[in-house]
């Protein structure tokens, strides 16, 4: 089984692009923009990375030499059917492993509110869970039109 160890990879700063995942200040982030700056016109280039925390949306910045390595997190997006809502937690069905997941909390955000509305309306719901570095969050909701 999964040992729970973080799965990180090294990536050269110069290889990062907009949309790449990278760890900044110990948080998994998604790169929003990269610009090259120099301390003085004739100095070595450094990459100025502006990224957003993939769970909180908070903006973070980092300056790193182009040839340096940074760590990239393993980020997974998985889609699950919502079977039920139990208090503040979702009851999800994992089709791949054929098991129930009951530890994902519904957020106090537009996605969480939409889930509650759709559940009350009796609609079949699909949610997308983003997971990285031991954290998980519901980031997307849509109607399951195949149900």
């Amino acid at each position: 089984g999964d040992s729970g160890a973080l799965r990180l990879t090294n990536v050269q700063t110069g290889h990062l692009k907009k949309g790449s995942y990278v760890i900044i200040k110990n948080r998994p982030t998604k790169v929003d923009s990269i610009s090259t700056s120099k301390p003085g016109k004739h100095g070595s280039a450094k990459c100025h990375i502006i990224a957003n925390d993939i769970f909180t949306g908070k903006k973070v910045e980092e300056i790193s030499p182009s040839q340096a390595s940074m760590q990239a997190p393993e980020v997974k997006r998985n889609e699950y059917q919502v079977n039920d809502i139990d208090g503040d937690f979702l009851v999800l069905w994992d089709e791949v492993d054929s098991c129930q997941i009951e530890h994902i909390r519904i957020g106090e955000d537009p996605v969480g509110q939409k889930i509650k509305e759709m559940h009350e309306s009796g609609l079949a719901i699909l949610v997308t869970i983003l997971s990285a570095m031991g954290e998980e969050k519901v980031i997307e909701v849509k109607e399951d039109t195949k149900a």
Binding site: H15, H42, S44, S66, R77, K137, V138, I139, E140
Partner: protein
């Protein structure tokens, strides 16, 4: 570093001294470059007229042997150079490159200015394009003092090619991670590879062969997308100067390893793991960047062989999109590759290859459509709107490039091949459901979208009118949306689209009725003076086409508009004005009649203002 610190302290060299020195050198490099050379395209540039005038005034008071001796023995030793000022300027640049390389090889990279090396490479590319081994048809414009030293058969010219290649390699090796330096080095390589004589020398050069081996083994560090594209493009450009019989071997040698590795990574079930492995993702993206560069470097005679090499990669990319579309860098890289390939090859590949390309593009668009964010999905994912915009814009450009085959291909076969229209219309149908008002608020995307729809409606009007109902509804709805919400350019596109559709809609009553709604809306905009007078002409064209070809539907439109007015006097005036637009007999849509109608329509627009409420 300790020794340097001591040396600095001994000679009191401060960082500001170094900075000033670098600034002075940098200015000199740029001044020389701009003075003696021009910007280049296709690997060549003219010599500035003030330089040719200067050289024409001099006597040929130089010695080829002296210059050859200078090259072989004295370059970098700052001895007195014998030649004119243009020679002196060129060799001054080369001396700077020699000094840089000497310092780099002794480990001084960290205090040298990457900016100077970068600009030096940029200037040397311009100088090469202007002076080095020019083609015979330029001989009349090049002074003999240059041709004798740097012409195609000159020893100094050959020496200079090998010298420049060494400097490119030094830049890549020593300035690791400096993407600007790498990019300028590879731009110099690209410039050299575009000259057939220079390219031949490069391909036989041992250093170039070692560089190629490093690339094929994966050991060559190309620090950015631009660098990988430049390198791939340079290799293909160099290959294009080889005899055609040598192309398969070269392709296999240069790209075989990376191609096989990429195909393996993109095949099932390996491709499923890609999204969770940043290392593999980066490898694949780097490979796709290289193939993108290969596509940009294509010339006509190598298109077919390179296309066949790329087909498995493109097919693999469709699978990659299926599993990793949520990753913006992957989606963008794949779509950019497809856009580039469709733009570069569409007019040069044969019928079977064209069908193959259409088939793969169709699968890609289908995959994109099935896996993409649809309107109605609530998402918190950061950057999702930007990613959606980027990818949609690229899809629209891809369709536009695919359209160009029918429009620009004058090699019409005896039997009409309508596969282009099918792929384009089906592709558009797939994309339209993903375009909503939020996405269309981006001006570039809305412009691209309506331009594409208009082009499709104009070129394939008959096919659009016979499209399945849901597809037609979507297209007509988008035209209506465009009329309500956007700028004059888009309104202009929409009028042209509806004008073309009207002419070819004779057999489809439901379609004609739907077009009538757009005509009705336009007339209302005119009467409420919400349509700019500059658009009256294209509006007149559209209304005229509709009246001529859909007469009954126009009468229905008139009745609808009139019945919405409560005041009987207004109703009567409006009916009279609108009916006066109809010619007495069935009229063909000719230019002369359109022109006459345009004047009548303009009067109508002036008179009907304020009538409709």
């Amino acid at each position: 570093r300790e020794r340097e610190r001591e040396r600095h302290q001994k000679y009191k060299i401060t960082s500001s001294h170094l900075h000033q020195l670098f600034e002075d050198i940098h200015w000199l490099v740029l001044l020389v470059g701009y003075t003696i050379s021009d910007s280049w395209t296709e690997g060549t540039a003219s010599i500035p007229s003030h330089v040719t005038d200067y050289l024409a005034r001099l006597e040929d008071s130089f010695s080829v042997e002296a210059i050859q001796r200078f090259i072989s023995e004295e370059l970098g030793q700052c001895n007195e150079f014998k030649g004119n000022h243009v020679h002196g300027a060129i060799f001054g640049l080369l001396e700077l490159a020699v000094i840089y390389q000497d310092l780099l090889s002794k480990g001084a990279c960290h205090f040298l200015s990457p900016q100077i090396y970068s600009s030096l490479m940029w200037v040397l590319a311009r100088v090469s394009a202007s002076y080095l081994m020019p083609k015979e048809h330029r001989y009349a414009y090049i002074p003999s003092s240059i041709l004798l030293i740097l012409g195609e058969e000159s020893l100094v010219g050959r020496w200079l090619v090998e010298f420049l290649l060494e400097k490119v390699i030094s830049g890549l090796v020593f300035f690791v991670g400096e993407s600007t330096v790498a990019s300028d080095c590879l731009t110099l390589l690209q410039c050299l590879s575009r000259n057939s004589k220079i390219s031949t020398i490069l391909l036989q050069n041992n250093n170039f062969k070692k560089l190629l081996e490093q690339f094929t083994s994966g050991a060559l560090n190309l620090p950015s997308t631009e660098c990988r594209r430049l390198f791939g493009g340079s290799l293909i450009t160099a290959m294009s100067h080889l005899p055609c019989s040598d192309h398969p071997d070269f392709l296999e040698k240069a790209f075989g390893r990376v191609r096989e590795m990429t195909i393996r990574q993109l095949s099932e079930p390996t491709v499923r793991e890609v999204s969770s492995s940043p290392h593999t993702t980066n490898q694949i993206l780097a490979a796709l960047d290289t193939f993108h560069g290969v596509t940009t470097g294509l010339v006509t005679k190598v298109v077919e062989s390179v296309f066949d090499m790329l087909v498995p990669i493109l097919e693999g990319c469709v699978e990659l999109m299926r599993y990793a579309q949520d990753q913006a860098p992957i989606t963008r890289t794949v779509l950019e590759l497809f856009c580039c390939i469709s733009d570069s090859v569409i007019l040069h590949i044969d019928k079977n290859q064209t069908h193959k390309l259409y088939d793969i593009c169709y699968k890609l668009l289908k995959c994109y459509s099935e896996n993409s964010h649809r309107p109605g999905i609530i998402s918190l994912e950061v950057g999702v709107e930007d990613a959606k915009y980027d990818s949609m814009l690229l899809c629209l450009r891809l369709l536009s490039h695919l359209c160009s085959k029918d429009f620009l291909n004058f090699d019409m076969p005896d039997e009409y091949d309508d596969s282009t229209s099918k792929i384009v219309l089906i592709g558009l149908d797939k994309l339209v459901s993903h375009i909503d008002l939020d996405l269309l608020k981006f001006p570039k995307l809305s412009n691209e979208f309506f331009k594409l729809i208009t082009f499709i409606c104009e070129v394939y009007a008959e096919k659009v009118s016979n499209f399945p109902e849901t597809g037609v509804d979507q297209i007509l709805n988008m035209l209506q949306v465009g009329l309500n919400n956007y700028n004059e350019d888009i309104t202009f596109y929409i009028f042209n689209a509806v004008s073309a559709l009207s002419v070819y809609s004779t057999n489809n009553l439901i379609f004609r009725k739907k077009l009538g709604q757009i005509i009705k809306h336009t007339i209302k905009l005119i009467s409420q003076q919400e349509l700019s007078a500059e658009l009256y002409d294209p509006a007149a064209d559209m209304v005229f086409s509709f009246i001529c070809k859909c007469r009954e539907e126009y009468v229905s439109v008139v009745n609808e508009i009139v019945s919405e007015q409560s005041d009987p006097t207004v109703r009567e005036c409006l009916r009279t004005a609108l009916s006066a637009l109809m010619p007495n007999t069935n009229t063909e849509v000719t230019r002369k009649d359109k022109s006459q109608f345009s004047k009548i329509f303009e009067n109508f627009a002036i008179n009907v203002y304020g009538v409709c409420r």
